[in-house]
């Protein structure tokens, strides 16, 4: 009998989202900056996403994820709520900008910026 060990769910960023992160970082005059991803309490549904361009480097409690040329910093408590999330970018006239496809989110509010687990 063979057993498989569950792999920890990662947080990933799509190629398109990574391109837009670099564009925003350059526009802020921080072309080498990284992306902080997290959640905080609040928003209509309970938890709100955080997305910040940062050149402060990672904190002691951060997980560091590097994909498509972008480094993501995620604090460990936020990671619990974000494991398995794919950060994508929805462009165009009807686009929503950065979109969190979060498998942990049971409900989201009308504007999509907050969720409950």
């Amino acid at each position: 009998m063979t057993t498989t060990t569950p792999q920890p769910l990662n947080i990933t960023i799509s190629e398109d989202a990574a391109v837009h992160v670099k564009q925003f970082a350059a526009a802020e005059g921080k072309p080498e900056a990284d992306l902080r991803v997290g959640v905080k309490g609040g928003g209509c549904s309970g938890l709100t996403y955080i997305l910040d361009i940062t050149d402060d480097g990672p904190g002691d409690n951060d997980k560091i994820i590097e994909e498509n040329g972008v480094r993501l910093f995620v604090d460990k408590k936020s990671y619990i709520f974000l494991a398995g999330t794919v950060l994508e970018y929805s462009g165009g006239l009807n686009g929503k900008g950065f979109v969190f496809n979060n498998p942990n989110a049971k409900t989201t509010c009308g504007c999509g910026t907050s969720f409950s687990v």
Binding site: V39, K40, G41, C44, S45, S78
Partner: protein
């Protein structure tokens, strides 16, 4: 009870949480219905409702700015739930929450402070706001509280001085039992945890409109509460009832009008009660029945 003078020991009936940290105000603002970030100076305070993401009531909080952080007064039986709720949503924030209920005394004086010489005069202080003052030499937070039409004073300080403060209050005031206070509360139309303050009800139908800011931005449950208000979707209202017989305990019993259930009694004591009924039935003077007892609506507590 003489309604104009007396005091009750709320130590076990209320909970007290201490929130310390740079993000305490901001976090509570994101979790409750009122604009907590307006509390900028020591002594300031306000009421705010902690709501679920479905806009239902967890508890009605009283939030006060202390020199070192915030003092959050909860309903006694809700303290652990409120503390756990705040802890759950403390993620990256600089906030430490501690239940200090056992370390603090909490008395409520039902009397104008100007009549009791050991108390500071709070007549010019708006409800929920307070001052730090020495009461018989004991440092205390003195908060102005409005219960119905009566001005009250809450005294909070270190539990080691509780017996001493109580002995001083005994010199001026009679002790009020919890049952007496509960009748006073119902008569004043004050909702209580486990009765009117439950996840069965939303803040608008429970008459908590004064504790809701509709322009502060997002908080948990905001979308639902705002929609209920904007589209006038509130289905029930909290009202006060009276009936002739002093005996029947009607809490939890259905309220009927022409054999149709139109609501539920949530508090009752000696011919006085509060309950939620359909909005269309909420008019002063309307009569209905509860467990066979004829009851009359005497006050509408939710606008």
């Amino acid at each position: 009870m003489n309604k104009s003078s007396g005091y009750i020991d709320l130590g076990k009936h209320k909970g007290r949480l201490s929130l310390i940290g740079n993000d305490a105000l901001d976090l509570l603002d994101r979790l409750t219905t009122n604009r907590i970030t307006d509390l900028t100076n020591t002594g300031m305070g306000m009421g705010a409702v902690l709501t679920t993401n479905k806009g239902r009531i967890i508890d009605l909080l009283s939030v006060h700015v202390e020199e070192k952080g915030l003092m959050v007064l909860t309903s006694g039986n809700a303290t652990e739930k409120v503390s756990d709720w705040i802890d759950f949503y403390t993620i990256m924030e600089d906030v430490q929450t501690e239940n200090v209920s056992d370390q603090t005394f909490h008395f409520r004086v039902i009397s104008p402070s100007s009549e009791i010489e050991i108390l500071p005069d709070t007549t010019a202080i708006e409800p929920f706001h307070g001052v730090y003052s020495e009461i018989a030499g004991v440092e205390s937070l003195v908060i102005s509280v409005q219960v119905g039409n009566l001005s009250c004073i809450d005294l909070i300080g270190s539990a080691v001085n509780g017996d001493f403060i109580q002995s001083k209050l005994d010199d001026y005031l009679g002790r009020i039992s919890f049952e007496e206070y509960d009748r006073f509360r119902i008569n004043a139309g004050e909702p209580a945890y486990g009765s009117e303050l439950t996840e069965d009800f939303n803040p608008l139908e429970a008459g908590l409109l004064p504790y809701i800011s509709f322009n502060k931005g997002c908080y948990i449950g905001q979308e639902v509460v705002a929609r209920l208000n904007t589209y006038d979707k509130v289905q029930r209202k909290l009202v006060k009832f009276e009936w002739d017989s002093e005996d029947p305990e009607l809490s939890g019993k259905a309220i009927e009008d022409e054999d149709r259930v139109v609501g539920v009694m949530t508090s009752s004591l000696h011919g006085l009660g509060m309950g939620f009924i359909r909005k269309a039935k909420a008019e002063e003077g309307n009569t209905m029945t509860c467990d066979g007892v004829k009851i009359t609506v005497v006050d509408i507590l939710a606008s």
